[in-house]
């Protein structure tokens, strides 16, 4: 905040092995760097605490073969390297129209400059936007402190109404809800090799220090999206205070197959309202196998927000998110893709 960027070592990893070896050697003191749009700001602002250190070394993964590529395979669906920029996703021909929700979400991220630099992996691994987390003087729970300052402090915009715990931040990613709705998986590279986990299991809850299951010597190598059957409809909606350079007050990602008016395999995932991309499971169950009528949409929206326990100053998010779910479902009926 008041500081200059601290000195750090910069290592260009030429392959996965070098990257993970390096991360391992630094034993938690190194960080992966790709677009750096979030990382450098955190470093400049000295966001640190007992359990969060300003990295001493940055391991650049952008030179790893294939990490900046989008590949489309008929059977396997879509594979996007972690270092693919959000601009690419917003505009890529491989992505539209079959995975259109990814372009929709990517276009809503930050600004043109952020999208040009920011990467898919970075978007999934970004840290909370809570004003207290981002302020060097507040050693909050996420930094290894004992308390959450936002719960009784300033929490109007970037905080949760669902699944709150020791921390009440809301996950800021726009790509995450869209990818979870597409049932994407994260390919994680580590010293032991690669493993793939469903993205919905990639994010941790409010009682964990970090937001993802990544260990300090791991990083996301790619994201895999299963092929979407014909007739799949996808909608991403995001509400924010201003029309660019802003995170979601709430976002909704919906993916469903609609044949003869009947809704199948629906995913409704909420962003900006919970510490992780929130899968509105009950809502999906309400709708599964039914025709999307106006009445049913209303019920689904109710079900999606079931269990919402807003903070004193973000109660509006319940109404807002409910309205957005309704809109997303309504436009799914209307859209003909």
């Amino acid at each position: 905040m008041l500081f200059e960027l601290p000195a750090f070592e910069h290592i260009d990893a030429k392959d996965v092995k070098e990257a993970v070896t390096c991360l391992k050697a630094y034993d938690g003191k190194a960080s992966v760097i790709a677009g750096a749009t979030d990382l450098l700001a955190l470093m400049k602002d000295r966001i640190e605490g007992p359990k969060l250190k300003v990295p001493a070394a940055l391991v650049n993964i952008k030179n790893i073969f294939g990490i900046g590529r989008i590949t489309r395979e008929k059977e396997a669906g879509l594979r996007m390297g972690a270092a693919v920029t959000l601009s690419r996703i917003a505009a890529s021909g491989e992505i539209t129209p079959k995975f259109g929700i990814l372009s929709q979400a990517a276009r809503m991220v930050g600004t043109t400059q952020i999208r040009n630099m920011g990467t898919l992996g970075g978007n999934l691994c970004q840290r909370p936007r809570c004003v207290y987390f981002r302020h060097p003087h507040f050693v909050c729970f996420k930094k290894g402190g004992t308390r959450c300052y936002a719960a009784a402090g300033e929490h109007r915009f970037y905080h949760s109404i669902l699944k709150k715990g020791k921390c009440v931040m809301a996950h800021p990613s726009d790509m995450a809800p869209a990818l979870v709705a597409l049932k994407a998986g994260a390919v994680i590279a580590g010293v032991e090799g690669e493993r793939t986990v469903p993205l919905r299991d990639f994010f941790l809850g409010p009682d964990d220090i970090g937001e993802t299951i990544l260990k300090s010597d791991e990083f996301i190598l790619a994201v895999e999206v299963p092929d979407q059957p014909a007739g799949t409809r996808q909608i991403f909606l995001k509400q924010r205070v201003r029309q660019a350079a802003d995170f979601a007050l709430a976002s909704v990602a919906t993916v469903a197959r609609i044949t003869d008016g009947i809704c199948k395999d629906i995913s409704i995932v909420l962003g900006g309202v919970a510490p992780l991309p929130y899968v509105a499971k009950t809502a999906g169950e309400v709708i599964e196998g039914h025709a999307l009528t106006k009445r049913l949409i209303s019920d689904v929206a109710e079900a999606a927000l079931e269990g919402a326990r807003p903070l004193p100053m973000n109660q509006y998010k319940v109404d807002l998110t409910r309205a957005m779910v309704k809109r997303a479902l309504t436009s799914m009926i209307e859209s003909n893709t």
């Binding site: 200059e4 601290p6 402090g153 109660q315």
Partner: protein, 789 residues
């Protein structure tokens, strides 16, 4: 011949009395290509040989006492060249912010972010490291944040003599404007409405953060600064550092925005200068964006209680107001305008009975200072919101209601409004305006928005999106000839035909380096490109005011007219014999001198210049006179907004915004309109998104970056139509009364009034963010549900 009313000292040669050929043209901005192509070198871009890098250490507490400060470890760090703290600088050493002397390194810290040490080192990383090695032991004191809570509490025990310098000038002391009989005014009213309005902390958000290079050569100090005035910077620096003004030179070639935040040199400039004097090397300092938020003056947050009464026919009978201004740790009266809120409330509309009270409260929030329409914007928001509320209660059209109460005069002059010695201003005097066509502005802005559509919008089909139209008007005390009542200009014409205009002001971005030579060119009768301008440098230029309060054109304009006319007159004396005509018969236009009675008889300007002695160029000097007590100089305007509110998401989309201004006349309409666009952007941000948030327990500023402090982006900017209505005003250069600053003042109220028109809810707290809109709609539903039952 009628005596000239132009505001200058001494006389002016008679005007050329012909059609204008330069003034009123939308010429391109000088320096624009350099700026947009990255060639322009701002203060922070300058690198000098042997230059050191400076940084400051900031106190993390809003109120604290330094028990001990130890910089020895920092001093021992290799590469560190000097560390300044209160231990090794003179005890009474002061910096100056807006005429207010502040202790450079006080014992008591009165706001979060105040500097406690300054370091110069070989590079910025070492400077940063050095800061981390300075040990400071603080006694943390209980701070004051909320203005009303502070008012209700006993005066705090001071910990050191200078803890709150200048507080006795205004702290907790009400200043009052009254006229007529307020009780009678309310008794005569058929409708009385009472409301409370609050406005938020906001920041300037200049694209260029504060930056400077100070270079002391053992005798002279040269400073490349980011400041709106080179002359006030020079004099204040000389005073602070014990130098003769002759030995201080301040240069500002390009400025990346100011909006009042750079009205005077900032503290880093003083620290950089001192560090340069200590080390004998140039020192560069530049603030980070975070420092810019936490360490710099902000807009006053104000709570305004407003009660107004009117008769059934719409005649205003009474205005009562109490404005509580959180002045933060402003160090003195000059940093705080004792009547700026209530002056506007008292003068925008005609009302015989007013009782208006303004109280400034010293708190431990960041210092306050000029911020594009300081206090006008807040005052206008409350007043113009309240006018619509009253109009609704009266069942009157808001535009008609304003026209009904149109004010043709005002009662408290500019000087009286700043006079601290008199706490209650009770005047019955009616001071006319030098010019005023606010009525035309209101008409134009509302016509352009389609005011008559308002009723029709109610009949739109029932959807989640609602449309509304609203308006607001404003006035600004402007072109007032502020302290030190000096603005001078020099025009030099040389034998080779070159013409130089010397002006000691800064082009803050308003286009001063373009429009000031246009004034000179018009008065000389040459093309705009024929006049070179020497600007933004105290070397060679006479005194010029700092470019704030929209004062540059109205103050410099008359001086430039005088300087150019004097120089031209000398040239005419040389030309007259060459042309076989009398001096008083000569005129000039487009680079030619001609005889008035026989315009075909001409002499090129350049040929006439050949008669000038090479050793003795022609010099014309001009000097601005202070404004007279009467008439009152002010500018006016009105804006109207059509918007759409999404009642399910709280999103507000401004479909169209119209703005009509009474600035007198625009020297360069294109640049003038740009200023209005900038003002609208400020107004939209203030109305809908910008907000400085503090942690309620610690008082720390939480929104200290550009993502949490939301300024509008290009995508948030509404489609705008700007109209410049022109009016003659003989006191100013070509009727240019001043423009740049205040066009943000009516925007928030116009938006807020349109929101009411759309959804029938009044919003009294700024900014009106989606959460507030959704919450209000929800409450409104609940109320209506209950009502139905």
């Amino acid at each position: 011949m009628a005596e000239s009313k132009l505001l200058v000292k001494g006389t002016v040669p008679p005007p050329l009395d012909r059609d204008l050929t330069v003034v009123g043209k939308s010429l391109d901005r000088r320096g624009a290509v350099e700026k947009v192509t990255g060639q322009a070198r701002y203060a922070g871009d300058i690198k000098l040989p042997g230059m050191l890098y400076g940084k400051t250490l900031h106190c993390p507490h809003p109120r604290a006492r330094i028990v001990k400060i130890d910089a020895s470890k920092a001093e021992a760090l290799p590469g560190v060249r000097a560390v300044l703290t209160k231990e090794n600088t003179p005890k009474g050493w002061r910096t100056t912010w807006y005429r207010v002397p502040q202790l450079a390194f006080p014992e008591c810290i009165t706001y979060e972010g105040m500097e406690v040490a300054a370091v110069a080192a070989d590079d910025i990383i070492i400077a940063q490291k050095a800061l981390e090695l300075i040990d400071v032991e603080y006694e943390v004191l209980k701070p004051m944040f909320d203005a009303e809570q502070t008012l209700a509490a006993p005066l705090p025990q001071l910990v050191a003599d200078e803890e709150y310098p200048g507080r006795e000038m205004f702290d907790r002391k009400p200043y009052i404007i009254k006229r007529g009989d307020i009780e009678r005014g309310f008794a005569e009213a058929d409708v009385v409405v009472e409301e409370t309005y609050t406005t938020q902390v906001s920041h300037h958000g200049t694209i260029q953060t504060r930056a400077c290079i100070a270079d002391w050569d053992g005798h002279n100090l040269t400073v490349w600064d980011a400041v709106q005035g080179v002359w006030n910077a020079k004099l204040a620096l000389a005073d602070s550092l014990g130098l003769s003004p002759d030995n201080v030179r301040v240069i500002v070639k390009y400025l990346g925005g100011g909006f009042g935040s750079k009205a005077w040199s900032q503290r880093i400039t003083y620290f950089a200068a001192k560090l340069s004097m200590v080390t004998g090397r140039p020192v560069r300092m530049e603030r980070t964006r975070g420092e810019e938020f936490v360490n710099h003056s902000r807009r006053y947050d104000i709570k305004m209680y407003l009660k107004m009464g009117a008769k059934k026919d719409g005649t205003l009978t009474a205005i009562q107001q109490k404005a509580v201004v959180n002045a933060g740790a402003a160090a003195d009266k000059d940093n705080y305008y004792i009547m700026q809120v209530i002056w506007h409330t008292s003068n925008l509309h005609a009302c015989p009975n007013v009782y208006l009270e303004q109280i400034g409260v010293y708190t431990n929030k960041q210092i306050t200072g000029p911020t594009r329409s300081p206090m006008n914007m807040q005052a206008i928001f409350a007043l113009e919101s309240h006018m619509d509320r009253l109009a609704m209660e009266l069942g009157m059209d808001p535009l008609q209601f304003r026209m009904k109460n149109y004010a043709t005069y005002q009662t408290v002059g500019a000087d009286a409004a700043r006079d601290l010695s008199e706490q209650v201003k009770s005047y019955a005097k009616e001071i006319p305006y030098s010019s005023k066509i606010l009525d035309q502005c209101m008409k134009l802005a509302t016509d352009a928005i389609g005011w008559e559509k308002r009723r029709g919008l109610k009949q739109l089909p029932e959807t989640t999106k609602k449309r509304g139209i609203g308006m607001a008007s404003y006035l600004v005390m402007q072109g007032v000839g502020l302290v030190p009542y000096a603005a001078e200009a020099k025009v030099v014409i040389r034998k080779d035909g070159t013409i130089d205009l010397f002006v000691g002001v800064v082009d803050i971005g308003g286009g001063q380096q373009t429009i000031l030579p246009m004034i000179a060119a018009e008065e000389l009768g040459v093309g705009a490109d024929d006049v070179d301008v020497i600007i933004g440098d105290t070397k060679e230029t006479p005194y010029g005011p700092s470019c704030h309060a929209s004062r540059c054109t109205p103050e410099m304009g008359p001086a430039i007219v005088q300087a150019a006319a004097v120089a031209r007159q000398q040239l005419f004396e040389l030309a007259a014999p060459m042309m076989g005509a009398k001096v008083e018969e000569l005129r000039s236009q487009n680079g030619k001198i001609y005889v008035k009675s026989n315009p075909s008889k001409t002499l090129p300007f350049k040929i006439a210049c050949a008669g000038i002695d090479v050793e003795k160029p022609l010099i014309g000097m001009g000097s601005r006179a202070p404004n007279p007590a009467e008439p009152m100089m002010a500018t006016f305007g009105a804006q109207a907004v059509e918007l759409e509110v999404d009642t399910e998401t709280g999103q507000v989309e401004i479909l169209k915004l119209t703005a009509a201004q009474d600035f007198g006349k625009a020297i360069n309409p294109k640049l003038c309109v740009s200023q209005v666009y900038g003002g609208i952007e400020f107004g939209v941000g203030y109305a809908l998104m910008e907000e400085g948030l503090y942690d309620s327990k610690t008082g720390k500023l939480l929104t200290n970056n550009l993502h949490q402090y939301r300024m509008p982006t290009a995508l948030d900017y509404p489609r705008s139509e700007v109209y410049l209505t022109e009016v003659e005003d003989p006191y100013f250069a070509y009727s240019a009364k001043g423009a740049g600053e205040n066009t943000n003042a009516p925007t928030p109220a116009a938006i807020r009034n349109a929101l009411y028109d759309a959804i029938g809810i009044w919003f009294n707290d700024l900014p009106i963010t989606p959460d507030k809109i959704l919450q209000a709609i929800n409450q409104d539903h609940q109320r209506k549900k209950k009502g139905v039952r």
